[in-house]
Amino acid sequence: MKAPPFAYARPTTLDSALELLAGNDDAKVLAGGQSLLPVMNLRLGAPALLVDISRIPMLDRIVVDDDGAVTIGALVTHAAVEASPEIASHQPIVAAAAPHIGHRAIRNRGTCVGSIAHADPAAEMPAVCLATDAMMIATSTRGDRAIPAADFFTGFLETDLADDELLAAVRFPASPVGARGTVVEVARRHGDYALAGLACRLVFDGDTITDAALAYFGVGPHAQRVAPAEAALVGTSGDDDALDEAVRLVAATLDPPADVHGSANYRRHLAGVLCRRAVTELRSETGEAR
């Protein structure tokens, strides 16, 4: 199918883009378009105005602070995240997510921030944001605001962003000392949206887990952390008994949907398997903590 008609603007300054968003009720931001254009081609969405932000300077930057915090601008593609040595060294969990996203051609155009703003429940990046306590940098003619990931994802394809706000960047704070992270998922085919996935970050002090983040995707209306299971891991070494309890709590907490790709019971079971796999992988990691 062909996209429905729309008006189009390609501003060259951020201010101009924000004015367009403020002045049009039914405007959508176009960055890579890898989420928006399929929706439009299927005629599931028909925004009146597309604001193409591709020519706005500075939004394509990856900025690394001295402490290792990384800010990723709205035009940075998944491919650029995947290829960035800074992200690999300072935010390995972010780098770990990138190869799971779609296929090469999608990653070449699709943006990290766009994926977060689209908030597909089965997408990796929202869960990574939750696992890392990332901050969403939203901007509008009314000013900037930083939204914690925990407050950002509000429903199925819904976020805390207001209609006039542009998600200009995502900021991953410096990793705590002793942090290790991984992204594990199961998809029907390689590159598909996950049947269930987990962005897992554990902070170790020696062999002891001092902080745990289990951020799931594909098992609910939006990415979500499972606090009871995280609590069950903290203070342990991630040993098998602790894992059994965490897996039990994951299954008890999640209420995943059923669809043509998998049943609710399957996804609940898979969430536990992923917990076990991720924690087992991270507890056996040696050398440089991440």
Binding site: M1, K2, A3, P4, P5, F6, A7, Y8, A9, R10, P11, T12, T13, S16, L30, G33, Q34, L37, P38, N41, L42, A48, L50, D52, S54, R55, I56, P57, A79, G102, H103, R104, A105, I106, N108, R109, R189, H190, G191
Partner: protein, 175 residues
């Protein structure tokens, strides 16, 4: 790039002019702003070698190389390609000599109905230009975003391996 003089605005239902380089030639065409890049290539430029299999970004038949990277031309608006450099299947051979990937696909019986073949070959070209040292597993993963319904993929993978061998040491890998 950054001055507001260059801002583009197109009203609902309006047309826009796209200037880009396609297969080495500078082109400039006017299309409705909602036109996808794939439709611009196929209709306005009559480059019908780029195929549409799903128009929602899954099948990969429309894959082209844009500024050196493989992209789905059905998931780009033509207007997003303004100022870019595009390569399509029609630009792969030079002066009538096939690109090694074309020769290798021929040698290995890569395709059958060949509707998917432009997407596969453009994906492969971008991959090999990025890094020609690829294992079979890596090739399968990189080509995993392209659907073929005829071949079971083995002949396509063999074609890419053949092209790699040819590009490396002039040995097409065919006995």
């Amino acid at each position: 790039m950054s001055d507001t003089m260059n801002e583009t605005h197109v009203a609902l239902g309006g047309d826009t002019t796209i200037s880009c380089t396609v297969n080495g030639q500078a082109v400039s065409v006017e299309v409705p702003v909602r036109t996808s890049l794939s439709d611009m290539l196929r209709s306005a430029l009559e480059l019908t070698g780029t195929h549409l299999g799903c128009e929602h970004g899954v099948c990969g038949a429309c894959t082209i190389v844009l500024d050196g990277a493989a992209v789905r031309s059905c998931l780009m608006l033509a207007v997003q390609a303004d100022g870019t450099e595009i390569r399509t299947i029609e630009g792969l051979a030079t002066d009538g000599t096939w690109h090694p990937i074309q020769q290798a696909m021929h040698d290995h019986h890569g395709f059958q109905c060949a509707f998917c073949s432009p997407g596969f070959m453009m994906t492969a070209v971008a991959m090999l230009e990025d890094d020609p040292n690829r294992t079979e597993a890596e090739i399968r993963e990189e080509l995993g975003g392209n659907l073929c319904r005829c071949t079971g993929y083995e002949s396509i993978i063999d074609g890419v391996l053949g092209a790699i061998a040819e590009m490396r040491d002039g040995d097409g890998g065919v006995a």
